[in-house]
């Protein structure tokens, strides 16, 4: 046994204390906030003719369409998400275990892909109407009535089918957290299962449901590809058109600010509900849920009710895509496809790494220096999840153009050298926008991992003779490794799916899979876009599978 030598040695030099994290955190947070601040700044500029024209012609339509989408998708996701969550958590019926995770599958589907598939199948020239005409001998569209898919109703249906999982996930967690004790109490007080749901479970879950709907509606307002293809004009499509078509920055910025007004309301709703959620959390003690046993007929109905959203939101569109892809892959999987795939992988990989690195720095800043300034800047940096991609893209574009102009002017004046465009119109601008947009995702994931490293573990490691570096390597790294990888994965997949910001910011001729699918679909070559769209969906499946594995494992009260 070797005695510790330290105590006999002269006392080590007294150390100074140093703080570099606050600075790093603040600088990063400011960079992240830059695009949004720029948009706000431009919106304050004097109004242009185009804005006046917009206000008198299309603005009313944007508002009505956006409101219509919000009401329709809000109700749709609420009913579908809550209903399915209740059935799979509280009732026992055949297929429940599979449906419990299968209900998440639509998360893998970008809304625009679903829009393409249904539009292709349900349009006048599509197989459904074709079959109807063949069956009844109709010769033109005037001979029969068929719902017009390219409409507000169609957009509501598509967005509901892919966005209900937000509500489902939160509702399911809420029901699991409250069930055993409160519901058993309600039954002993003479309430039927239905009364237990409507009088106890639903009111208790209300804050969670509001959070889920708010998140889904943020996606609705940020959606570009689906509403564009279904010819429903919203702020997002209008903004993109004003910018790409007319290049009018103040008008685009004013549209963006109007859009942000809606988003602000949703964020307020979400925050408020999250705060109330804490008080509504009934208990920390879980029990295995026994659940209601359903009669065979009711069980069958429950199974169908839960299978339908999976079918409409994932199985059918994926099947159609698959069939199309088989047909068109020989021509469409060509050099341009692989180039786009390579671009997608590259930008997604770099953005994922960057967003994760920034998240790690911010999370540690928050942990090491939890003062008010750091906390505020980190929260501000996490706001990107709520801001629609086109708004961020606009902000990045405007900010980078301004910086480029300033640098160019200064260099020309000082050295007579024109530097031209350094930042705008480069892949860097695209990646920067992705990091701003998806930082909240990586930040949340990294933070949830870092929470598992309790502060006392730091203290213990230090007292056991390990300095900060060794402590990070031997205690922190192994514990947060999984969360960091998950964070990178989530950002990677979301970047693969991202469309509007990429469209607005990409360098000339720079295609990604999403851009390629969009361009082909815009030319009504829906079958030709299937291989690219299918590739995106396959990548999107990875985090959904990770998430469902987590759901199967993390059922409170079981195991451990």
């Amino acid at each position: 046994m070797t005695a510790l030598s330290w105590n006999d040695a002269p006392a080590p030099a007294l150390r100074r204390r140093f703080n570099g994290w606050s600075v790093a955190t603040a600088v990063l947070a400011l960079l992240i906030v830059l695009p949004l601040a720029t948009v706000m700044g431009f919106a304050a500029a004097p109004q242009t003719e185009i804005w006046g024209h917009l206000a008198s012609t299309v603005l009313g339509r944007y508002v009505l369409n956006s409101l219509g989408l919000m009401v329709g998708v809000g109700l749709g996701t609420l009913v579908v998400g809550t209903g399915t969550a209740w059935l799979v958590t509280m009732c026992r019926f055949p297929g429940r275990r599979v449906l419990e995770w299968a209900l998440l599958l639509p998360l893998a589907m970008p809304a625009y892909v679903v829009a393409y598939t249904y539009a292709g199948v349900l349009d006048y020239a599509g197989p459904v109407q074709g079959a109807i005409r063949a069956l009844f001998g109709f010769t033109s569209a005037r001979d029969y009535w068929f719902p017009h898919f390219r409409s507000l109703g169609g957009a509501v249906a598509v967005l509901t089918a892919v966005l209900y999982p937000y509500v489902y996930l939160l509702a399911r967690t809420a029901f699991l957290g409250q069930c055993a004790c409160v519901l058993e109490a309600s039954r002993t007080l003479g309430q039927s299962p239905w009364q237990g749901f409507s009088r106890v479970a639903l009111p208790l879950a209300r804050p969670a449901l509001a959070v889920g709907v708010a998140l889904a509606l943020m996606e609705v307002l940020g959606d570009f590809g689906a509403v564009q293809h279904l010819a429903v004009d919203t702020f997002t499509t209008g903004l993109t058109r004003v910018w790409l078509g007319m290049g009018d920055a103040p008008a685009a910025a004013q549209l963006a600010v109007a859009l942000l007004g809606f988003i602000g309301l949703l964020v307020a709703l979400e925050r408020l509900s999250r705060r109330r959620q804490r008080f509504h959390h009934a208990t920390n003690r879980y029990r295995t849920l026994s659940g209601y046993r359903l009669s065979p007929l009711r069980g069958l109905l429950a199974m169908l009710a839960c299978a339908l959203p999976v079918l409409l939101g994932f199985v059918l569109p994926a099947g159609i895509l698959g069939a199309w892809a088989v047909e068109t892959a020989p021509q469409m999987v060509d050099g341009r496809f692989w180039l786009a795939a390579g671009n997608s992988l590259a930008v997604a990989g770099i953005a994922a790494a960057a967003a994760t690195l920034v998240a790690v720095i911010l999370a540690y800043g928050l942990r090491l220096r939890p003062n008010r300034m750091v906390r505020a800047t980190v929260r501000l940096a996490g706001i990107g999840y709520a801001v629609p991609g086109p708004v961020i893209a606009l902000g990045v574009m405007l900010a980078f153009t301004a910086i480029d102009g300033w640098v160019d002017g200064a260099m020309t004046a000082a050295f007579g050298i024109s530097t031209g465009l350094l930042l705008s119109g480069t892949a860097f601008a695209v990646i920067f926008a992705y990091v701003v947009r998806f930082l909240a995702l990586s930040l949340g994931t990294v933070e949830s991992g870092l929470i598992r490293v309790k502060p006392h573990m730091d203290d213990a490691a230090r007292s056991l003779g390990h300095g900060p570096g060794s402590m990070l390597r031997r205690v922190h790294a192994p514990i947060i490794k999984g969360s960091v990888l998950t964070a990178a994965l989530l950002v990677f997949v979301d970047v693969m799916k991202e469309l509007p910001a990429t469209l607005m910011l990409r360098p000339f001729g720079f295609d990604t899979l999403a851009v390629r699918a969009y361009q082909l679909a815009s030319d009504e070559r829906l079958r030709d876009c299937a291989p690219a769209a299918l590739a995106i969906v396959l990548v999107g499946l990875v985090p959904v599978l990770v998430l469902s594995a987590g759901i199967a494992r993390a059922r409170p009260g079981q195991g451990r």
Binding site: A3, L4, A11, L14, R15, A460, S463, S470, I479
Partner: protein, 368 residues
């Protein structure tokens, strides 16, 4: 009549070489003073307990000693070497102190053995393993060397945490509420085992607890803290038998309180007259009487006894608790608790004779 206070002396305290010395230590969080000008020395092989109500500053003092909190005022020495003063401090990893936490803070990704080896990086691999197994053996956890923390019970985790802190043979071991995460029955067992491990380790031990019984069970010396200051420092016997003020007297057990006014150097109470040395005439004082100071005599008339009516009597196990009412002229009856060894359960409404053991009666200024 009061008796002169006799103090049963414990074995004379051995002269110990100081291992941990805190001098004039103060600490503020924002504007709030958490520790105020505290001096404390813990000798080699000594177990000192910091005890006090929650928020009294005891955990802060521990964190200062460990180097987890920068020192604002005063100085800290370990084995005679200065390790912290307001100019700077030796980081915790260079101090050679062991730490055990309330939540154990075991590393979830390491086995029990690797947790214990964590502090032995300076040794060659084979010696690391030997030392770690030896320490795990000391706490009776050698059979769980390959277990991960999440499969261990609370008591087992506590033992591994203790082994982890002891393995590098620190000169000073700091424990922060190490037993409060355990349920009461397990707590007694683990506490007992821990006492023996600590005694054989020859560390200077500073243990923080809010439980007075735990402090008395473990400590050679107790420092009772209140609002950042030491209310009293001394052996458990001293704190119990010669409390410095009413707070100290009542901290180590329930007490009866009587208010009175000093007249002619004495205080008169329904229970008799007591000497009040050092108090001016007319001073308002508080008499603190421990329940075990009240001696009860069933029916029989004892000399100098006061009669009391029994309101309730309950057996609490090793002792009986008797609720008494003593009439006093011109006031509501005085309610007293008496604690009697063994089974002593006089019927309700019966009369008992009451005498006082002066060793457990303390006179303090009122409102102190």
């Amino acid at each position: 009549m009061s008796q002169p206070v006799r103090l049963p002396e414990a074995a004379p305290a051995p002269q110990r070489e100081p291992a941990l010395e805190l001098r004039g230590v103060s600490h503020r969080y924002g504007g709030k003073l958490a520790v105020a000008a505290v001096d404390l020395t813990v000798g080699r092989g000594e177990i000192a307990c910091l005890v006090g109500p929650s928020g009294c500053g005891k955990s802060t003092l521990l964190r200062l000693a460990a180097g987890l909190e920068p020192l604002q005022t005063g100085s800290i020495r370990i084995n005679g070497h200065l390790v912290a003063d307001p100019r700077g401090s030796v980081p915790p990893e260079k101090r050679g102190v062991g730490l055990v936490f309330q939540d154990y803070a075991l590393f979830p990704h390491l086995t029990a053995l690797d947790n214990v080896r964590f502090g032995l990086s300076h040794l060659p691999g084979e010696q690391q393993k030997r030392r770690a197994m030896e320490t795990l053996g000391q706490v009776g956890m050698a059979g769980f060397a390959d277990a991960y923390p999440h499969v261990l019970s609370g008591g087992q985790q506590q033992r591994v945490a203790l082994a982890r802190a002891l393995a590098p043979q620190p000169r000073v071991l700091l424990l922060d509420e190490p037993f409060s995460g355990l349920d009461p029955r397990l707590r007694h067992q683990v506490r007992d085992d821990t006492l023996h491990v600590l005694k054989s380790s020859q560390c200077a031990v500073l243990l923080v607890t809010h439980d007075p019984e735990e402090a008395m069970f473990l400590a050679d010396r107790i420092a009772l803290m209140r609002e950042g200051r030491f209310a009293q420092v001394g052996s458990p016997v001293e704190l119990y038998m010669r409390p410095a003020d009413s707070f100290v007297a009542s901290f180590f057990g329930e007490v009866n309180r009587l208010e009175a006014v000093v007249a002619g150097g004495r205080v008169a109470t329904p229970l008799g007259s007591f000497a009040a040395k050092g108090f001016a005439d007319g001073a308002r004082v508080e008499l603190v009487v421990r329940p075990e100071a009240l001696q009860l005599h069933r029916g029989a008339q004892a000399p100098g006894a006061v009669l009391a009516r029994v309101e309730a009597a309950r057996l609490l196990g090793r002792t009986s608790l008797v609720h008494l009412a003593v009439t006093q002229p011109g006031a509501a009856p005085l309610h007293l608790h008496a604690r009697v060894p063994g089974v002593f359960l006089p019927p309700e409404e019966s009369l008992v004779a009451l005498t006082l053991d002066g060793d457990h009666v303390f006179v303090f200024p009122q409102g102190a």
